[in-house]
Amino acid sequence: MLRTWRQRVTLTDLFVWSIGIFIGIMLIVGFYRAFFVPPYNAKYSYYTWADLIVKGLALGGVYALIAMGYTLVYGILRMINFAHSEVFMSGPFTAVFLANWLAKAGYYEKYPFLCLILVALLSMAVSMTIAILLERIAYRPLRTAPRLVPLITAIGASFFLIYTFRGLYGSGMFAYPSIPALDGSWTLFGVFELYKTQVVVIAFAVIMMMILFYIVQKTKIGKAMRAVSEDKEAAALMGIDVDRIIVFTFALGGISAGAAGVLYALQFPIVNAFMGFVPGLKAFTAAVLGGIGSVPGAFLGAMILGVLESLGPNLFLDPLNIPNPAQLKDGIAFLILVFILIFRPSGILGERGTQTKV
């Protein structure tokens, strides 16, 4: 027994594990100091922590909706739709014009929720259109090509879209108008402050996720999607129009990305053509963390990532005396991405078989 174990563990494993253990120790030290070592444990109150968690959940809701696009497409085509971050960008970047027009005309104060829904609908429609065009023009002809080819195409499409939208709408920053009805916060149990926008974002994201889950699990077309993801040829033999299902998958991913875009804009109202890259990468991280190809996995992964990202700088980095830890918040997400891919590419809820596919 011992010998086989020793044979299986290579130098690479040792190296990787030692890095992992080192980072783990750093995290534990940071965590310990944040709660038990004097100068640090007094820095933040429990309300701050609760605040950060809610903020993280709101962020996670956005990531979850973007991650849906990655996870659905990966489930069916086994490809990373690198341009999905631009599908996400296109919606809110277009809808900002409608939002500003509505705000100027005064509708934002009169019917805030109707306006929000209109803006979200436009954003979803634009993102869906971009996703469908992307599939039709860039991915469909390459469905049988070697694996790197569609990925490179996706990278190219991503840049093309970023700079097309920059060219169309200009390189300036555009701000979403604030919604007066969502300013301020609700107080829970007399002590607990919840920002209205965050509550709305979380609620909206959860509802969207439930609808998507219902579509994939309970409807006929969802069943067809799952069939195509299992085996394309067999599904085609059963009379499923594979092309149509793939287009539908992209459309679904686009719709959820468009919705995510509006929710993102509620939290960070400045939009521009480059806004997609970082949230896109983080959503991909979330999809991988939860187990790519799985819808509940994407939700779980996104929530974990959102909370970690929101808590991380204060919880782990600040107690280690790292100045201005918020700067490294994106680094936390990327580090999680790198490590989850190295240690457990199948993610938390991923199928066993993924490991071999990766």
């Binding site: 490179i152 990278i155 590419p345």
Partner: protein, 563 residues
């Protein structure tokens, strides 16, 4: 199989696609930006070509797809496709005059409408794009009906006229340095673009040779017919000539172009490295900029008095910087070895971003300078000679390119190189054949990182400073694009790719705004229509064309011959 779409549907569809692309190019701002550059003096502008090219191209493709032998039909389908495209443009102009499109589309300016209507005022102006596109569609039908020999002649001659007009500034700047020669050719050019006479004569000149040489064998086969010894002589002669030209280039082109050459050179160096990782070993590395940054920052930290860490000279710091880059390559390489394909790409991308975030952070500010970067980096110096001008740096970069190119060329057919290629083809089989995949992949990562680090040190020396903003994801994409355009795995391809993608946008200044738009489009179209690149590596070409399954062939076959 589906039923064949009817002819009118094809013509309509293609015309509409062409019109849509034209509108997109207009709204993105290309047409207006390019309108400043005249191809033919006071006549045809680059903007107009950009505007009408999609319609022209799609109507030609439509005619080709319909492939009707009848003259009248071909002409009418061409006219129809052109007319549809033109109508879409006219609709854009009409819409723009009815409502304020500018509130959303920043480039929907009166200037743009003026270009589309060719300056004709409005009610009549709406007809102009329709008529001109229809005429162009008919012209494409005419081109299609010509014999292949005439078609190729006209295309070649037009391409040369276009190129000369486009590169007028470059040609004139070069000629200005050679007073005596300039009069020979300068009459061809006006202050903006070519003169009509010049364009006409160039067209006739190129056309004559193109017509005469049509169907003749190219130079290569001429060389191949010679006996082996002479073949070798010709080959060495070519290499010698290239070396001479490369050495004289900054002298010929002047200071402004020397800087461009330096940039191109640095990218060639990186391209040679990434070509090993992506092209030879098939490991898609999207965080390649990380090693470039590590090279640049190592030189900066070790030589700059600002950090006060060490006061080495450039040459003392260079080996340390290179070792750092290689170490980073191996450290990244080790854990990601077991990942394949797309996951590897994402992990390396994450790694590149982490390096950039660290360089930006306040945490490492005492060492890396944070957002302000590091200034006063030592310049390379031999004896009393300091490489501080663009021209002298060019020679230094050229020397390193020569070394890197030689190393890459020798590695390619070596034992290691063949292992890399085996790995690229099929990892499991390669392992079964006894290739140590761990070591082989590490070697690829290490070599790639080495070249990238070298490029980084030269970049730092050239700028004299090092900022985190120079090391973003776009650099990785630049390098990736250039090796894909040139041809993955092909060493001459790296040079071609760098000249086209890095050199051309610098020469055509108005183009640089659309550089990444263009890169994106190039990556997509290359992957769709020519995945082996402009200067393909022989084996790669076979591989990509062998793997294409028969069912996708009809689709690609329609479009490739026309390109």
């Amino acid at each position: 199989m589906q039923t064949k779409p009817s002819d009118w549907k094809i013509s309509l569809q293609f015309g509409a696609i062409g019109g849509a692309v034209s509108i997109l190019l207009s709204l993105v701002g290309m047409v207006v930006a390019f309108d400043q550059r005249y191809i033919i003096a006071n006549g045809l502008t680059f903007g107009q070509i950009t505007l009408f090219a999609p319609v022209v191209l799609t109507s030609y493709l439509a005619i080709k797809k319909i492939g009707s032998p009848l003259k009248g039909r071909t002409i009418s389908w061409g006219a129809a496709a052109g007319a549809i495209g033109g109508t879409l443009l006219a609709i854009l102009v009409a819409l723009g005059n009815l409502i304020n499109l500018r509130a959303m589309f920043i480039n929907a300016t009166p200037e743009l409408y003026n270009i589309i209507t060719l300056g004709v005022p409005l009610p009549m102006g709406l007809i102009v794009p329709i008529v001109s596109c229809t005429i162009l569609g008919v012209a494409m039908a005419g081109l299609y009906l010509l014999s292949p020999r005439w078609r190729s002649t006209i295309l070649q001659a037009s391409a040369w006229v276009f190129l000369f007009g486009l590169l007028r500034d470059l040609i004139m700047t070069v000629l200005a340095r050679w007073g005596a020669f300039s009069s020979i050719i300068s009459w061809m050019f006006a202050l903006n673009g070519m003169t009509i006479l010049g364009a006409f004569l160039l067209f006739a000149f190129v056309g004559f040779f193109a017509y005469r040489n049509y169907g003749r064998k190219s130079n290569d086969s001429w060389v191949n017919k010679l006996p082996p010894r002479q073949q070798k002589a010709v080959r060495w002669g070519t290499i010698f000539a290239i070396v001479i030209v490369a050495l004289l280039l900054p002298r010929i082109l002047g200071i402004f172009f020397s800087e461009i050459l330096d940039n191109v050179g640095i990218y060639i160096l990186m391209g040679l490295g990434l070509n090993i990782v992506v092209g030879f070993a098939g490991l898609l590395d999207l965080g390649y900029v990380a090693f470039y940054a590590i090279g640049a920052y190592s030189i900066a930290v070790l030589t700059s008095p600002e950090i006060g860490f060490a006061h080495l000279t450039f040459w003392q710091a260079l080996p340390i910087a290179l070792i750092m880059a290689v170490l980073a390559g191996v450290i990244l390489g080790l854990p990601v070895l077991r990942l394949r394909g797309d996951y590897l790409a994402i992990v390396t991308l994450g790694f590149g971003e982490i390096i950039r975030l660290l360089a930006l952070s306040d945490w490492l500010r005492p060492f890396l300078g944070g957002t302000q970067g590091i200034q006063q980096i030592a310049q390379p110096q031999i004896g009393n000679f300091v490489f501080n001008t663009q021209e002298s740096l060019y020679y230094l970069i050229l020397l390193f390119i020569a070394i890197a190119g030689f190393v890459a060329w020798r590695l390619k057919d070596s034992h290691v190189g063949r292992s890399w290629m085996a790995l690229r083809e099929d990892e499991d089989v390669a392992q079964a054949m006894g290739i140590n995949t761990v070591l082989t992949k590490l070697l690829a990562f290490g070599t790639g990182a080495f070249f990238s680090g070298l490029a980084g040190t030269l970049f730092a020396a050239k700028l004299g400073s090092s900022y985190p903003s120079s090391f973003n994801f776009f650099v990785s994409i630049n390098v990736l694009s250039l090796i894909i355009v040139g041809g993955m795995g092909s060493i001459p391809g790296v040079f071609v790719g760098a000249l086209v993608l890095i050199g051309a946008p610098e020469v055509l200044r108005e183009f640089s705004d659309f550089r990444f738009l263009f890169y994106g489009a190039v990556l997509v179209t290359m992957m769709l229509f020519r995945p082996e690149g402009l200067w393909p590596e022989a084996r790669r070409k076979l591989e990509l064309h062998d793997e294409a399954p028969p069912e996708t062939e009809p689709q690609t076959a329609v479009i490739t011959p026309g390109v």
